[in-house]
């Protein structure tokens, strides 16, 4: 919403600098984007062209002598409309225009001591200007005073603030509303316009029948203006529209916009001779169509409020008028519509068709009093600036009268919410500044909220107002007083993240929404996916069920930048639908590639055993030590069939680990994913101390040659089974692969908590183990 200082000054006295007003408005809750002069150019002067010759060395430049009062300047000008006798805007050397600083110069041997300007060159947006004003220099009226400031003369010496208003302040979408707001800040009076005009007796009351047939219209006023003269608007109307970002068209159209800016009430003018005697307001039916004033044929729905005559729809209420009944240069008589339509309906229609200055005001709600004011004001201005004769009668459809809102509140309530200690006088002062009537009874207030403040309805809204106008800068910061209790926090995920970061992995955070076609990556048994309606892009359309493909994107990004040592993890949510239920689970994924340990003469690349080691380290840390198994699996399409495994805890699969299939990555890239929601459901006992044996232990190595397919984990479990309780630990000491077989060396540690073991009893177990392993796996014992 644009605040025009000149416009608002019609209703309230304003001496403050524009920046100061902007800052003060911000302090009461109205943020702004920009506060500036409408035309920022300086060092401009009105001049008269006293000589104008063609430049001898150019086919389009003119060499002119221009009288600017104090002197006569030589200026070279290329505008096609430059001629002797014109009054023009001259930018003197040193003038700062949006296009740059004007300097004395020599143009093809002719001296030029300034520049004659078009309005576009002063920085006015081209959309507001006529084609003459875009192509050529601006021609000032013949009575323009030479030597004066042209900006002032043209009444373009306005200052504007572009506010970003909160959605509840519909009242501020008008100059009068803005005037009330600044008046409250500076404690001044607001003078609302009091329209006056003369009327003619005609048969408007009997010639036209108004029929409102929808609940979505609560007020509809229809007036008539006869014999209008369509012409250019006076400068002040045009300039104020331009300041507020609206393009001037002609006096009649401009008046409807001017009144909207002034009162906040959008108006619609119809060419009365193209509308027949019946005006109706109703909901459209689905087969209906309307050619709107932009020339587009629109298909209507049963949710659109429309204005119609006997035969057809003539306007989309609150959004856009119809093409056929539009005001045009030949219009003589006009119908004036001032109405209030249901915000939600307008909102839906506008969202589909077009958001306009008008629709955005209807969407946020209007004050019935302003509807009446706007009707009156438009009649006044049409009489004054379009020579209209105003019909005496106004058709009126009204659901209910305007009611002022009465709200009761106590001083105690105000202070207890604001946490301040202000007195009765402070509060009444605030309401006086806001122009809210207020009856005081001891510590109680009965406040009458004017109908323009649609946002103030309950006690808390009044507290907001007191806070805004009194100011909350002085609220003391108090430490919360509440019953002492420890805050609850679940640190499970934090423990995982911190452990993995300590193990050398970088945490990443990626997007939950992925491309629908990636949903089955590393998620071959895809569940029913959850997708968003109307995704912004294909890339972000479906909620992921696995984090791995996101980590692969991070890997790709870094690799494309020659960063190949990537060891990353993410803990994030995965989403799917189970019957009618939306399920969210927590997942951990890791991707590792490139060097893991590095230094002089030491570069260790990640392989399967490193990523497995990271996972085991984490699982041990979380308390799952000795409870997990890795079971070969070859059914994940994206994984290397011989270098991947399922992770099993207590017989339950909690995730997978493996190498990315070489058809996807030529590099060695390893990934894993663990479902943390599942993992957390597996109980872990509390950390406890178990005493170690005080007696010496005995270590024995054994080495076998196996078939290539034999798994170390199977051998270990066989060793365990065939030995006794004195076997304290087994380590795989070495693996050596040959053509068709491999050797594995195990180190077995024996100990007993109560005594020193005898060599013979250890050897007995040792030999039994060797016997069982060689038999079971058809293995050969290697001589150590």
């Amino acid at each position: 919403m644009i605040f025009s200082k000149k416009f608002v000054s019609d209703y309230v006295e304003l001496n403050e600098d524009i920046k100061e007003i902007a800052e003060d408005m911000t302090r009461v809750g109205n943020e702004y984007d920009d506060a500036r002069k409408l035309v920022s150019a300086l060092n401009l002067i009105i001049g008269e062209v006293i000589e104008c010759e063609m430049h001898p060395k150019s086919d389009h430049l003119h060499v002119c002598k221009i009288n600017v009062g104090s002197e006569v300047l030589d200026i070279v000008c290329g505008a096609p409309n430059m001629r002797k006798g014109l009054k023009v805007i001259v930018a003197l050397p040193g003038a700062v225009l949006p296009g740059g600083i004007i300097k004395k110069s020599v143009i093809r041997d002719a001296v030029s001591n300034g520049m004659c300007c078009s309005l576009a060159e002063l920085g006015l947006d081209k959309k507001f200007l006529s084609s003459e004003d875009i192509d050529g220099i601006h021609e000032l009226p013949m009575d323009a005073p030479v030597g004066e400031d042209p900006i002032k003369y043209l009444e373009l010496d306005d200052e504007i603030i572009d506010f970003e208003l909160t959605s509840n302040r519909s009242d501020l979408l008008s100059m009068i509303g803005l005037a009330y707001e600044v008046a409250a800040i500076y404690d001044r009076d607001v003078k609302e316009p009091i329209p006056s005009y003369s009327t003619v007796k005609d048969n408007f009351d009997s010639e036209v029948v108004l029929n409102v047939d929808t609940q979505n219209c609560s007020l509809f006023l229809l007036g008539r203006a006869l014999n209008v003269t369509i012409k250019e608007s006076p400068a002040f109307i045009k300039n104020r529209l331009i300041a507020c970002g609206i393009r001037p068209i002609n006096n009649v159209v401009d008046i409807s916009n001017y009144v909207m800016l002034e009162t906040g009430q959008p108006l619609h003018f119809y060419d009365a001779d193209k509308v027949n005697s019946n005006i109706g307001v109703r909901m459209a039916s689905t087969q209906e169509k309307l050619k709107t004033l932009d020339g587009v044929d629109r298909e209507l729905t049963s949710k659109d409020i429309v204005i119609c005559n006997k035969e057809k729809v003539i306007g989309l209420a609150g959004v856009m008028g119809g093409f056929d009944t539009e005001i045009n240069p030949d219009t003589k008589n006009i119908l004036i519509e001032a109405a209030i339509f249901d915000s939600a309906s307008i909102r839906k229609t506008a969202k589909r068709i077009l958001r306009s200055e008008a629709s955005s005001r209807f969407e946020k709600g209007l004050d019935q009093r302003r509807t009446y004011l706007a009707m009156e004001r438009s009649k006044e201005l049409l009489e004054k600036y379009a020579d209209a004769k105003i019909s005496e009668y106004t058709h009126e459809y009204k659901v209910k009268d305007v009611e002022d809102k009465l709200i009761d509140i106590t001083l105690d309530k105000i202070n207890s919410i604001l946490g301040m200690n202000i007195n009765v006088n402070d509060v009444t002062e605030v309401f006086r500044k806001l122009d809210f009537k207020c009856e005081v009874d001891g510590d109680s207030f009965r406040v009458t909220v004017p109908s323009r403040r649609l946002d103030v309805n309950i006690r808390e809204d009044l507290i907001t107002e007191v806070g805004r106008i009194y100011g909350v800068d002085n609220i003391e910061a108090r430490n919360l007083v509440a019953m002492l209790k420890p805050g609850k926090i679940d640190r499970y995920v934090r423990n995982i993240k911190e452990r993995l970061a300590t193990l050398g992995l970088n945490e990443v955070i990626t997007y939950s929404l992925i491309n629908n076609k990636d949903k089955e990556k590393f998620n071959n048994n895809c569940r029913e996916e959850i997708s968003v309606l109307e995704p912004m892009t294909e890339e972000r359309s479906t909620l992921r069920q696995s984090l791995v493909s996101s980590l692969m994107e991070v890997y790709d990004y870094n690799k494309a930048r020659s960063i190949k040592d990537v060891s990353i993890f993410e803990v994030g949510e995965i989403f799917y639908k189970n019957e009618e239920e939306y399920v969210e689970e927590e997942s951990l994924a890791i991707l590792m590639s490139g060097k893991y340990v590095s230094g002089i003469n030491t570069n260790i690349e990640v392989d399967f055993y490193y990523i497995k080691g990271i996972l085991e380290n984490l699982l041990d840390y979380l308390g799952y030590s000795k409870r997990y198994d890795f079971v070969k699996c070859d059914d994940i399409k994206e994984a290397h069939p011989y270098q991947s495994a399922k992770v099993i805890i207590n017989g339950k699969c909690v995730g997978f680990i493996g190498k990315v299939h070489p058809s996807i990555y030529k590099d060695n890239v390893y990934v894993l994913e663990i479902n943390l929601t599942e993992l957390r459901n597996i109980n872990v006992g509390k950390m406890k101390f178990k005493d170690f044996s005080k007696f010496p232990s005995i270590k024995k190595d054994m080495s076998f040659i196996f078939d290539l397919d034999v798994q170390a984990s199977d051998v270990i479990s066989e060793i365990r089974k065939s030995s006794n309780k004195n076997l304290a630990n087994i380590e795989v000491y070495d693996e050596y692969k040959m053509e068709n077989e491999k050797s594995l060396t195990f180190t077995l540690t024996f100990s007993d908590d109560t005594r020193t073991l005898l060599e013979e009893e250890v050897m007995e177990v040792f030999n039994k183990v060797i016997y069982r392993v060689t038999n079971k796996f058809n293995a050969k014992l290697k001589n150590m």
Binding site: R347, I475, E507, L513, V566
Partner: protein, 347 residues
Amino acid sequence: MKEKLDSILLNAKEEILKSNNEVEMNVVKSKFMGKSSEFTEIMKGIGSLSPEEKKSVGVLTNDFRNSFNSMFDERLKNIKQEVLNKKLESEKIDISLPSKSVKVGSLHPLTHIRYILEDLFVSMGYDVVTGPQVETDMNCFERLNIPKDHPARDMQDTFYITSEMLLRSQTSSVQVRAMLNNKEKTPIRMVCPGKVYRRDNDDATHSHQFMQMEGLVVDKNISLADLKGTLLEMARCLLGKNTNIRFRPSYFGFTEPSYEVDVSCFKCGGKGCALCKNIGWIEILGSGMVHPNVLRMCGYDPDVYTGFAFGVGLERLAMFKYGITDLRGFYTNDMRFLNNFNRKDVE
């Protein structure tokens, strides 16, 4: 006899000092103290001397032995030290060469911010809770006093899944859950960090996915002063102990009154600089007193209870705290970006 022993000792001393290693030392030892040494001969002869002579010669031989041993041990000690020194010297390394190290990991900057805030609020007795990202329209809007077609929905264009399900556009939905789940309707102090989603195009200052943390306190006699105290603690914890805050009135629908909260610019201290656009203040979050309709819809009597709520974007905080200028960096995950955060920050 004395002269004889003195002369042997003199020779011995000379040879001990000439010896350069343990082997040579052993040779010297056997030469002067061994079975066939002069000294051993003298010792053998003592038996045939008179008691008086025995006594005087005994003193002399004792002195000799002590002197020899002390010279010998001294020298041996020195030799061993030299050997050790040589060995140490041979093990000399260039300590300036780079280390051999496991890759250094890091937590994501948003995680750093999240944990700083979680720890602060837990220390003040707040519970840290979470809620689902796939939410109902009811919890994300309706129960927050933002009915369908409310203009405030404009501000947060939302990803819908069905007409009633959506990706939450604000962590405020967890406020609703916390109040509804509290069946005894006892006081609440909680914060809720988590991901939220809005239909924004990703650029330097927007992201369709980002992190928020919501705070909610519901109790008797809660006021704006309590909110200010809480937010001041938070601002100072994150941005330094000299930070100040100010409230600017605003509008959010689920709070009334509502305030945007600015922190004094931590770069210029409030004097005005490029970061704060010469205003001296920087907006960091939205907050307010819980709207009575919200309390009522969640089962709390607004005549008995009041509360405050705030919601803060973690990206924004991280950008200020660490000096990050492009929001996209958080989600691109360039290793060079992430490795900035591989350390413990100073408190």
